[in-house]
Every structure is written in C-alpha cells, then in structure tokens.
Homo-oligomer: 406 residues x 2
Amino acid sequence: MSEITEMENGVCAAKGFRASGVHCGIRKNKEKKDLALIVSEKRAATAAVYTTNLVKGAPLIVTKNHLSDGYSSALICNSGNANTCNANGIEIAEGMCRLVEEHMGIPASDVLVASTGVIGQPLDLTPIASGMDALCADLSASGHSAAEAIMTTDTIAKEAAVSFTVGGKTCRLGGIAKGSGMIHPNMATMLVFLTTDCAIIPAMLQKALSEDVKTSFNMVSIDGDTSTNDMVTVMANGLADNEPITSEGEDFSVFCQALHMVTVKLCRMIAGDGEGATKLLSCKVSGAKDEKTAKTAAKSVICSSLFKAAMFGADANWGRVLCALGYSGADLDVNKIDVGFASKQGEITVCKAGAGVPFSEETAKQILLEKEIDVLIDLNDGDAYAEAWGCDLTYDYVKINGDYRT
Amino acid sequence: MSEITEMENGVCAAKGFRASGVHCGIRKNKEKKDLALIVSEKRAATAAVYTTNLVKGAPLIVTKNHLSDGYSSALICNSGNANTCNANGIEIAEGMCRLVEEHMGIPASDVLVASTGVIGQPLDLTPIASGMDALCADLSASGHSAAEAIMTTDTIAKEAAVSFTVGGKTCRLGGIAKGSGMIHPNMATMLVFLTTDCAIIPAMLQKALSEDVKTSFNMVSIDGDTSTNDMVTVMANGLADNEPITSEGEDFSVFCQALHMVTVKLCRMIAGDGEGATKLLSCKVSGAKDEKTAKTAAKSVICSSLFKAAMFGADANWGRVLCALGYSGADLDVNKIDVGFASKQGEITVCKAGAGVPFSEETAKQILLEKEIDVLIDLNDGDAYAEAWGCDLTYDYVKINGDYRT
C-alpha cells in the first residue's frame, strides 16, 4: 500500500491553490472574519455533495448549476447569514459569483458559492462588494484565514491535509471545514472545502467523494438536525502532473485512501468542536452482521440525547447505550451485546451478553473524564464494523442555541 | 355526539377500581413513593401496547404473558429501578406478581407488572415484599398516591378522567401516567395505566387502544429516546353495567372519543413535564396532503434540539422550524409553507410561502415567554391535520441526565 503522509496546512496544501479570509461586515463583531475565497490557478475538476434537506440554501442551487460541467476555478463563502429562505437568495448568490468574476477575472459560471449562518434574513451584497479588494489582496498559500472566515459557533479552525503518490508523482490533498451546530449530515454535510493537485477526471472525483461521505461526514452528528446549507466540495487542478485518474484501479484506491484520511480527521474535529461540546465521542461498533447494521447502531448511540448527557457527566450509564441500540432499527440480538468504554486512561467492560457486569465506578469515572472517549460495542453477530462521531450534550449547547439570533 | 365530561380523579374514577402507593425502600429518598398497586374488584378485559425497543424490560415480557387471555385484575409497578438488562429480571417480575397473589388472593397470572428507573441494576424483591402490607392497607378510591409512586424525575403527578354514556349507562374512564425522560414512544409509550368501568370485550378494547396511541402517545417526544419499558394498559371491568361493546358502531365511537380525551390530556401533561422543561410545545400542522405527512412534519419539529433550545430562549427562530420540516422526510413543498407562533398572549405569523415576513420581535418574545406555546404550520397542500407535543431543551435537562445514576 502506498504511503500517505499527514501535512500541516489545509485547503492550500495542494499546488496552485490560494485562499483568503477577511471581515467584510456581514457579522457585527469586527474580530470575526466573515468572507472566504479559494482560488485555483488552473481550472479544476470538481465534485460536490449537498444536503438532502428539502429546504436548500440558495448558494447550493447556484453551485450545483455552476458545476454542471464538472469544473470550477474558485469558491466564495460567507458566514453570518445562510442566504436561505429569502425571496432574493438566488440573485444574491449569483451576485457573489459575479463579484469574483469582476475582481479575479474568473467567469462567474466557474465560481462556487456557499453561505452559513442564520436562516431567513436577507443577505446584503454591499459589505461583500466592499470587502472584495481586501479579500483578493489577502490570497496566500496559507489558507488559515479562509478556515477562520467560515467559522460560526466553531471554536477552532478546522484544517487537514496529506501527501501521497500517484503514478510516481507526489500529490497533495487538503481541506477546511466548519461544523458546530445543525450537524447531522445526510448524503452531504456541513461546509467542507477540499482541494487536491492530483489529476483526476470529474466522474471519478465525484465517485470518490460520494463513496467517502458514507463513512465520514454522514457518520457525524452533533444534534440530529440536518442543515439546509450542507455542502462538501473537492477541487482537483491536476498540477501534481500525474497521469490523470480515469478509472478504478490502484491509483484511484490510493486517492480514495488519502481523501478518507483527510475527511475522517475533519470529522473528528467537527464532532469534538460541536456546539458546547467538552468531549469527542467515537462509537465503534464491531461484530455486526453487515455494515449497514453497524452504521445504524453506531449512529443511534451517538445521536442519543440521554447518552450524550451521561457522557457530559462522565457517567458510565451503559443502559442508555443498550436502549439506543434497541430502538435503532438495526437488526441485532440484544442478548449478545458487549459494551465497554475506553480513553487514554484505559478500557473497561461494563456489559456482557446484554447484562451488566460488576465494574469499578471509580475506574470508569477516570476513563470518562478524558476529552476523547471511545464507546466500544461488540454485537458478536458477524464481522462488519462502523464508527460514528459525536459530542456530549452540555449546558453550553443549550445556552448557544437558546438565543442564537441575538 | 354524546357528551363527554371531564372528571377529577384519575385511575380510580371508574367504578370498582382502587389504588395505592407507598415508599418501600427501592429508592433511597424516603420522601419518594416507589411502589404502586391498582386493583379491580372484578376481573377486567385488558388491552396493552408495549415499547418497540428491541431491548424490552422483563416486566413487559411477564405482563404480555399474563395478558394472553385478555383479562387481568391488578397491576403492580415500582419506580427507581427498571428491572431491565438483568439476568434474573423475569424471575423478579414474576415474584412481584406472586406477592400480589399472596397478599390479595388474586392469581399471579391475572397481575400485570411494570417497572421504571435505571437500567441494568438488579432489582431486589426484599423491600417490595416488606412494603406489601402497607401497600394493600393504602388501597383507596383516590388513586393519587399511585400516581405519585410511579414518578421518577416527573415533577407533577399525572391524572385524568372523563365520564360518558354508553347504551344509556354512565361510564367512567381515567388513568395515571409517568413521563419525564427517555420519552419518544413508538407504537407504545411511557407508563400509562388506564381504567374504565365500561363493558367492552378485550378485542375491541385492544383495537381502541392500538388506534388511539397513533395520535396520542406516539405523537409525544421529550428527547427522542424510546424507552425499554414503555407500556400503556387499559383495564375495563364492566361495572357500569352497559351492554358490552362487542363491535364497531356508535358505542365504540363514544368509547374511543372518551379514551382520546383522557390520553391527549395525559400527553400534554407528560410533554409539559418533560425532564427540565419550562414549556409545553404543541406543534399543529394543517394543510397536509395526508395524515402521515402531517404527523411526520409535526413530530420532526417537536424533536429538533435546535428548535427546542430556541423555544427555551423564547427566540422566534422560524428558520429552525423550516429546517426541521425540510429534513423530516415528509412530502411537502417548502415554497408553500406558512409558520406562526401562538400562546395566550396572541398569535403572530413569521413566515409565508417559505420566506420570512416582517414581524415585531417584541410581540414574538411576549408570545414565546408563555408556558404553553403553539407552533402553527400550514403546508397549504391539502386538508390533513396532526398535532405533536414536546417541551423545550433546557439546562436542567442536561443537569438531570448528566448524572442520573448517582
């Protein structure tokens, strides 16, 4: 298997990509950047997946339209306003793309657009237009300011990148993400912008992305709410100069592995930085009869409010794990299930064959007081495995969402 | 249409039922009752519905078995321990029924049994056995102490009753319920014990109950978690002396209406007293193309953590209502949807045809600061209607569930 190496940097790890982020005035707080731009020096094969919510943000509709030929050159994204459920949403989203055309000379039809923030408040183009000069001037090969500019209630900027080899050429793939709240992706997800210099045709890029999200972003849940503006894009500009990937085979397989390393890293960052979260929870289900069963089981546990609140309290309340497995709809035999908890403090088994076993509450507490917790579930019913990521339910989640608009 | 009149009292409103509740020692806090008994002086036609969770509490299995002939004479229920996921659960549940036989002379096979509380901790029969004398001595036609004894994190005892006329005879139907947490019933629900003196055969009683829960308890959600011990039972001892109801027709229809009045009242009590709740939320969806669509839409809104947190903050964040409708899976046209909020302070429209309309934030705040809030959704796509009940998501929900076991 080809070696895949983690890199610093994110959305500009790949050759020929520059990015920027500034405060233009959509958000009142001048300390918070609210406008991001990603530009490829070469037109890039591009794939995307979108929310399955019937309410779709206007930017998604415009992006889908601009991507009908499978290529793009730039992406503009604002935070602070979702530009969704507004009568003039499409017009404004198109306007953002035209601003990129005017300032960068890239045809508007090659520009992708995304927005995140409050739903149902008209988005004004004025601050965006006045921020374009600064945005274009800020373009650099760091990309960190773009990662900052797409944050809403996120507390950390989320970046990840790897390098890998295809056809003897070194390729790079990286990206940025925003998560935090309204996170329960289905088919697509939150905002994730990926770039690579690997040469790959649009059809294979879309295939890789569509397959990847099934075991990456679609296995994350912060609060069970599927956003109206979820979108993952990946742009591949081919500047690594490898023989383009045009079909399945070893090169495609390496590309998919590299993609998965980056997406899973971003998933863990998104889950661990969920609104109000104090803990990253990874639910690892093994011994399932098939992958669908494993995924359904893992996701049900990670979505349970009761389980999430118990984790906030570092309470080894495994009955709630069994309860969530029982109502998940997954095909399983409750009398075979083992449950354990693990963290860097160690591992403890709390349930065997569907019934409690004696365990040290003190040891369990020590394990659960850590910031990264694994919930280990063995269904003892086959060989399939799945993992889902989430976070605990805390006072701060309620605080953040009890008065988000004001 | 026959008149149905609300009554004081609950599970003993119907002739020939007595009930009691005492503290026997399952719970450490001596102020909290933990054992309840309901007895019919005549063997009663009985129907029940149970949780669909694959993990089923031992008491449910024993109850189902004892109900195979469609009749029962008594019900015993403890709080403080769910007797679920324990190796000896069935034995203990049978033991509780035998204690009723020994003290009341009612065959154990005519006794129903229920438990609620923590999962996965063995339940000891000793305190129950020692509490039986007091429990039997406490039997009265009030039943209020039974309503208290089945409470866990509930803050109010839940009772409701009505009287109605069948075949010229006055009948009564009432019940008690416990809700609070792990409440997202599916087919069956939380613990609800109903009694009536109306004469009705078991098959028609089961038909009435199974139909009723679809628009009553199955439309309640506190936290999306379907319990392992949910159960609704209804005992009909026939002491009202009406011609027994043996088929559909006017009498059955009146009976179903009376049943629904009591169950909906209990639903609202359960939702308004959800764990940590400060508000009862009723989501009323009209203009749906069919009832299934209306129910799916209403339930999705009532289950949204983001919407629930917004209601806690009295924030008219209607974008979250549209978002929850969009991912609900219901077949609807987002561009037709109107949304409003109402309480005894008045009513306000915040969204027309899928887009925001200007409204006074001050008026909205006044409406949403009330304790009972209606969310009014018109899909403008047909004539079907549904209603779902829930509560807000608060700091106290997190507090209660962050450390439930200790």
